[in-house]
């Protein structure tokens, strides 16, 4: 069973808020899914090359040219909090 601490670690990494009253249910659900996928452990895959892309193709390369015009006005209109051209977030202390 996934521990409460484990669920907390995952939710922090993923930046999701898990309400305390949901913690147990979520842990059970995640545990069941992880238990299900764990059947892969027994699969006879050995050292076979992992398949990341279905197609064995190489990355295409683009010419180094400026082509995109930035439409600041439209982009700003869609942003939750913009001032003086900056996106704003609560103060970050480094």
């Amino acid at each position: 069973m996934l521990s409460a601490a484990e669920v907390k670690r995952l939710s922090m990494l993923a930046r999701l808020e898990v309400r305390p009253e949901d913690g147990d249910r979520l842990a059970r659900e995640l545990d069941r899914i992880l238990g299900f996928v764990r059947q892969l452990e027994a699969a006879p895959a050995g050292e076979i090359e992992p398949l990341v892309h279905p197609l064995d193709l190489a990355q295409p390369l683009r010419d180094d040219e400026v082509r995109e015009q930035v439409d600041c006005e439209t982009i700003e209109r869609g942003a939750p909090d913009v001032a003086e051209g900056y996106y704003r977030v609560p103060r970050v202390i480094e």
């Binding site: 669920v7 995952l10 939710s11 990494l13 993923a14 930046r15 999701l16 808020e17 898990v18 979520l26 659900e29 995640l30 069941r32 899914i33 992880l34 299900f36 996928v37 764990r38 059947q39 892969l40 452990e41 699969a43 006879p44 895959a45 050995g46 050292e47 076979i48 090359e49 992992p50 398949l51 990341v52 892309h53 279905p54 197609l55 193709l57 990355q59 295409p60 683009r62 439409d71 439209t74 982009i75 209109r77 869609g78 942003a79 939750p80 909090d81 996106y87 977030v89 609560p90 103060r91 970050v92």
Partner: protein, 474 residues
């Protein structure tokens, strides 16, 4: 009462004609959509262009394709007010071909679901029985086409999201080879499996539309630079002489006997048309669901990290600090299933688990693809049911995510392997549609069209109309 128009019949030489076709469908959406909730956003058609190979064909886009200036939600509260500043390649190409956009269809949130019940805009109802799900995640597109609210709709298929709702709603759903259609502007769920496709009444209609949207796009590195064959021309090739492998694994327990009967009957039609049927077993196919539920969540956990309340999308009110801004914006914006998958994906990629889960799943993924490639050494197509059961009831599988996942057991392997596949209506079980799935070789969409069109020349299932939605538009 006139039967519904085929896409080639809708292609209008006269723009006034096109306008009236679009208006007829708009009217049907207005009348019938409240019962189905198939659309998230209805779009008033602009004056359609006079030219183009699809001039005047009304179309609906799954709300996962971004549309410039038209709200695109991806079925999520996160993007409830998102107005994209650009068009997806698919949207752009179909518009250029002359299609008229009439609306954006409902879907499972971020395409994560098999019943359309994870949509933040409420579930879509199956036109064949409003108490039942339409399937998902392209459930809005499937229901809209089935109910005649639109002749064709786009969809996306990551683990069966076109084929499964097509089967459950009794329409034809086509997922092309991975790389055939550009993913640019298609909001990502699991990038290595997502592929855009088409839902329509018939293989013929699908071929017309897919021809207009397929092809290389330099803006998508994973889109393949090879010529697009004429799918419409492939429709007349016929089944005769094709070797079709029946995937025995698909007929194991879990498949309803009544569904199995419909599939057997459909296979008999293929055989009568001159196909040679053989049995095929894909030894590792049973692992496709667990592989999928490692890889898709892994990719989605990263793909959905951009929704952080800073540049677009939902932002929590009065955040205490940055961490609070992130956590609350995301937990308020995402529904339960999306959050569950993000957490699973975070887990399988995290330190100490990566090799056992993610890496192992990618290895097994190759085994599964190799199984398909081996099978295609001796057959031209693979066949089987699209789903183990007809449409289930709303709420029937929401309590247990795992039960829901197993609904995609016959469709997921195809996405892991990147192959093209389709579902065609193959009859009714207790008044509910059942789909026959055909799977093709890499980039051999033509053989799929040939077989499906021939099948549909010999059957009437794709013409069946759900009660209460018979076409009255004449």
């Amino acid at each position: 009462m006139k039967s519904r128009l085929r896409v080639p019949e809708l292609v209008a030489a006269d723009p006034r004609h096109a306008r009236s076709a679009a208006d007829r469908y708009r009217e049907r959406i207005r009348v019938h959509n409240p019962r189905l909730n198939a659309f998230i956003t209805q779009v008033d058609p602009e004056v359609p262009p006079a030219a183009g190979p699809l001039a005047g064909v009304p179309i609906a886009h799954k709300d996962i394709f971004v549309t410039r200036g038209i709200r695109t939600t991806c079925g999520s509260r996160m993007l409830a007010d998102f107005i994209p500043p650009y068009d997806a390649t698919v949207v752009e190409r179909l518009a250029r071909a002359g299609c008229i956009l009439v609306g954006k269809t409902n879907m499972d949130e971020f395409a994560m679901g098999s019943s359309n019940e994870t949509s933040a805009f409420g579930p879509v109802r199956n036109p064949w029985d409003p108490e039942r799900v339409p399937g998902g995640s392209s459930g809005g597109s499937a229901a809209a086409v089935a109910a005649g609210l639109v002749p064709v709709a786009t969809g996306t298929d990551t683990g069966g999201s076109i084929r499964q709702p097509a089967a459950l709603c009794g329409v034809t759903g086509f997922k092309p080879s991975y790389g055939r259609v550009s993913r640019f502007g298609m909001i990502a769920f699991a990038s290595s499996m997502d592929q855009a496709g088409v839902l329509a009444r018939s293989a013929e209609d699908v071929a017309w539309v897919l021809r207009g949207m397929a092809g290389h796009d330099p803006r998508d590195s994973t889109s393949v630079d090879r010529p697009v064959p004429d799918y419409v021309a492939a429709l007349t090739r016929g089944i005769r002489g094709l070797r079709i492998g029946i995937v025995r694994n698909f007929f194991d327990d879990g498949l309803w006997p009544t569904v199995a009967d419909r599939i057997q009957a459909a296979l008999a039609v293929l055989e009568a048309a001159g196909a040679r049927l053989t049995d095929v077993t894909l030894p590792n196919l049973s692992l496709s669901v667990p592989v999928y539920y490692v890889l898709a969540p892994a990719e989605c956990s990263s793909n959905l990290a951009r929704y952080d309340g800073v540049r677009f999308g939902h932002r929590a009110d009065r955040p205490e600090d940055l961490f609070d801004l992130y956590c609350r914006s995301r937990s308020e914006g995402f529904g339960e299933e999306v959050q569950r998958r993000i957490l699973i994906g975070t887990y399988v990629l995290s330190h100490g688990y990566y090799d056992a889960y993610y890496l192992k799943a990618q290895r097994v993924r190759r085994l599964i693809r190799n199984d398909f490639l081996r099978a295609f050494e001796s057959v031209d197509l693979l066949a089987g049911p699209t789903t183990p059961t007809p449409a289930f009831r709303l709420g029937e599988k929401t309590a247990d995510p795992l039960t829901m996942y197993l609904n995609d057991i016959y469709t997921i392997g195809v996405n892991l392997a990147g192959l093209p596949a389709l579902s065609v209506p193959a009859g009714l079980v207790d008044g509910l549609p059942v789909g026959l799935q055909l799977i093709g070789r890499d980039f051999d969409e033509e053989t799929l069209f040939a077989a499906a069109a021939d099948f549909q020349r010999r059957t009437e299932w794709h013409r069946a109309e759900p009660p209460g939605f018979e076409d009255v538009s004449g």
